[in-house]
């Protein structure tokens, strides 16, 4: 409890300092890092802890992004840009926080609907099905012109996302996932990951405990999509596609099968690509970032196949204790 409060305060202090000292660019980088953390940690629910290989996260992000963008958009501009919106949506303008939550809820709802049939599939079959789901969502968004403005996407979204919103949602996501992991839900999920048949014979409902992480993960993906939309200020159907899904899976694999690992993976991927950019600009060899990232990834996979953190978690309490001991 105390350790948690410590962490909140320290992170808050860091955010405050960053808000005061960093320029717009660095602040944006930090905000994206936070969004990556939300995405990676929420994807870990299915991919790392339940052993369900989902590539559908961007679909949930897209749903959250579009819903929240439509909800925060001023009605006057909606009338011109999205003429086919139903009446109640066209005249509605919600506060950012509420819009993001609704986006997350609808993403979760869609996860529930798609998850019900699809979660019976295993391994790669599930991966294909979730890719399929993502492409279906993308095609629908592209083709529903009068609701979503098709390939042009929605632009001019108000940039509500700031470091504090990102901070709050990172904390909420990590805390929720941590609580889930250390509850009977989490133990059931881990049991399913280790051995489905054994888990089922112990009375764990596979349907329920597979659906739960997918739906919860989708909620946070939807939220992250909302934050993303209000940070980039423009979204298109192709903003949320397969390369992003791959990137998220890569974060989990290099980080390891734990919350700590997911966070490390997200931060590492985010930071490395920003750090490599000046190199790319100086050498004028565009594509270098991807090449260096790929080689680094291969090296990590070969040297440390379990990921950097493995399945270990940082224990905050003992961390603080050891710090006090040091002093």
């Amino acid at each position: 409890m105390i350790a948690g409060i410590y962490t909140l305060v320290i992170l808050g202090g860091i955010s405050y300092t960053m808000e005061r000292t960093l320029n717009d660019y660095h602040l944006t980088v930090v905000e994206f890092l936070g969004i990556y953390v939300i995405l990676a940690v929420s994807l870990a629910l299915t991919n790392s802890f339940t052993g369900l290989f989902s590539l559908g996260h961007p679909a949930f992000m897209a749903i959250g992004a579009y819903i929240s963008a439509i909800l925060t958009f001023p009605p006057i501009r909606k009338a011109i840009m999205m003429p086919a919106l139903p009446h109640f949506l066209a005249n509605m303008q919600l506060p950012f926080c509420l819009a993001v939550i609704i986006g997350g809820v609808i993403a979760a709802l869609s996860a529930f609907i798609i998850g019900f049939p699809v979660l019976r599939l295993r391994g790669h079959y599930l991966a294909v099905a979730t890719i399929g789901f993502m492409i279906i969502v993308q095609v629908l968004i592209t083709n529903m012109n009068s609701l979503t403005r098709g390939p042009l996407g929605i632009n001019g979204i108000y940039p509500y996302t700031d470091i504090w919103w990102v901070y709050i949602w990172v904390v909420v996501t990590v805390y929720t996932v941590w609580r889930v992991l250390n509850s009977r839900f989490g133990r059931a999920m881990l049991a399913i990951r280790e051995d489905e048949i054994a888990a089922e014979s112990l009375g764990i409902s596979l349907t329920y405990f597979k659906l739960f992480p997918l739906v919860l993960g989708a909620f946070f993906a939807g939220v992250a999509g909302g934050l993303w939309a209000h940070l980039v200020t423009a979204i298109t159907p192709s903003s949320f596609s397969l390369p992003l899904a791959f990137l998220l899976v890569v974060m989990l694999v290099i980080g390891g099968k734990s919350i700590t690992g997911a966070i490390i993976g997200a931060l590492l991927i985010g930071i490395v690509s920003e750090l490599l950019r000046p190199l790319e600009m100086a050498t004028q060899m565009y594509g270098l970032t991807q090449i260096v990232t790929a080689i680094g990834l291969l090296a990590i996979l070969i040297k440390k196949p379990g990921g950097i953190a493995g399945s270990k978690e940082i224990n905050l309490v003992s961390l603080y204790k050891s710090l006090k001991v040091l002093r």
Binding site: Y25, V29, G150, P151, L152, T233, R277, E280, M281, T289
Partner: protein, 385 residues
């Protein structure tokens, strides 16, 4: 060992200090945002080459206001998130203007940030005419708007080729192609009435098989006089090849997406026939500006300009340089004001003037014809808007 370290340290810091100050005193930083990797790279990479060539030429002639131009180019990887961060990075480095992109999607993610900081953003290749209205008074277009080129083609088909019935194919996955078809349809039905469009059909970026669409055209009675196909450069070669192989002989017409060597090379000279398209400039235009551009581009990059986006990128930087010269200052707001007053820059891709407060240039449209694999200039058109 220690001595080596010390000497090295001194050398490096001297380099940093002098290099840094030397630059800071005498350069004007201009940002360039392009998708140099990923799906958009075949369109954006040539544009950046054009920008670089222009910068080199300006610098060889002593720069502008006694300062050198320094292009800070960032690859945004065909990803809007990268656009949003890269734009902020450029702005934090203090660029006085931004140039970029051959597609509206990415402009929409980057340009608002320039607008907010009151730094002009000039898109070299995005052709959505509403862009300046959507972004604000710091947004400029180098190319003509899609409405202009679509109207020009509609007029040309109607008046010069006496086309009365057309079919329209549209790539449904990009905004450029949708807008082009929309404006073409608008103009053509105005000229000939609603029934003149026999069929509207769709495809998507990267499609390889058009046999279904072709079959639907062949089944039409009466047959259309021409096919208007709204496509991006990467698809058009394959489309023409399959349409002609299927024995459809009517003229094919389209926009500046046709301005790529693929249009002729993929179908081959026999099949690449009777194609009309609108573009920014004719490569065989004897105008020395055009021919020098081609020559210098070849010298710098080892091959001819890949497509019209190279010329547009070149023009974009030249416009900025001219504005800086006229403004007598590298202050972004002053550059914007000078840019808005541009009257008659004779560029590689046409003559650019911003009139009546519009930040979409009023440019004549070049109509080109492909005959047995040879691209020929037909005429310049300035449609009534």
């Amino acid at each position: 060992m220690r001595r080596v370290l010390v000497v090295g340290f001194v050398l490096v810091s001297m380099l940093l200090v002098f290099g840094g100050f030397g630059y800071a005193g005498g350069v004007i930083k201009i940002g360039a945002l392009y998708n140099l990797t990923g799906e958009m790279s075949s369109i954006d990479a040539p544009a950046l080459n054009g920008v670089k060539l222009a910068a080199k030429e300006v610098n060889e002639k002593g720069g502008v206001l006694g300062k050198k131009i320094r292009i800070i180019a960032i690859d945004t990887k065909t990803n809007q998130k990268e656009c949003a961060t890269a734009a902020r990075q450029l702005l934090s480095e203090g660029v006085v203007a931004g140039i970029g992109y051959g597609d509206t999607t990415y402009v929409l993610a980057a340009a608002p940030l320039f607008q907010k900081k009151h730094v002009p953003f000039i898109t070299s290749g995005a052709t959505l005419p509403e862009l300046p209205k959507m972004i604000g008074n710091y947004m400029f277009l180098v190319p003509f708007g899609d409405n202009v080129q679509a109207y020009a083609m509609a007029d040309f088909l109607y008046k010069d080729l006496h086309v009365r019935r057309v079919i329209i194919w549209t790539n449904k996955a990009t905004d450029y192609t949708l807008a082009l078809s929309k404006y073409f349809k608008e103009r053509f039905t105005k000229l000939t009435g609603k029934k003149s469009i026999l069929l509207e059909d769709f495809f998507q970026t990267g499609d390889k098989d058009y046999s279904a669409q072709i079959a639907r055209v062949k089944a039409l009675k009466p047959q259309p006089d021409a096919l208007f196909i709204s496509s991006i450069p990467d698809d058009i070669g394959i489309i023409v090849k399959q349409v002609r192989e299927a024995g459809i002989k009517q003229p094919i017409a389209g926009g500046d997406g046709y301005d790529t060597p693929l249009l002729v090379k993929v179908p081959g000279p026999k099949l690449a026939n009777d194609i009309y398209y609108t573009t920014h400039q004719a490569w065989d235009n004897p105008d020395p500006v055009v021919q020098n551009f081609i020559k210098n581009y070849k010298r710098m990059f080892g091959h001819e300009p890949e497509n019209a986006f190279a010329a547009l990128g070149y023009d974009a930087l030249m416009l900025v340089v001219r504005a800086i010269k006229r403004a007598g200052s590298d202050n972004p707001a002053a550059i914007r004001d000078a840019l808005a007053k541009e009257k008659g820059y004779h560029g590689v891709a046409g003559t650019i003037s911003y009139k009546n407060g519009s930040r979409v240039p009023q440019k004549a449209v070049a109509i080109m014809k492909v005959e047995q694999g040879k691209i020929k200039f037909v005429k310049m058109v300035m449609p009534n808007m």
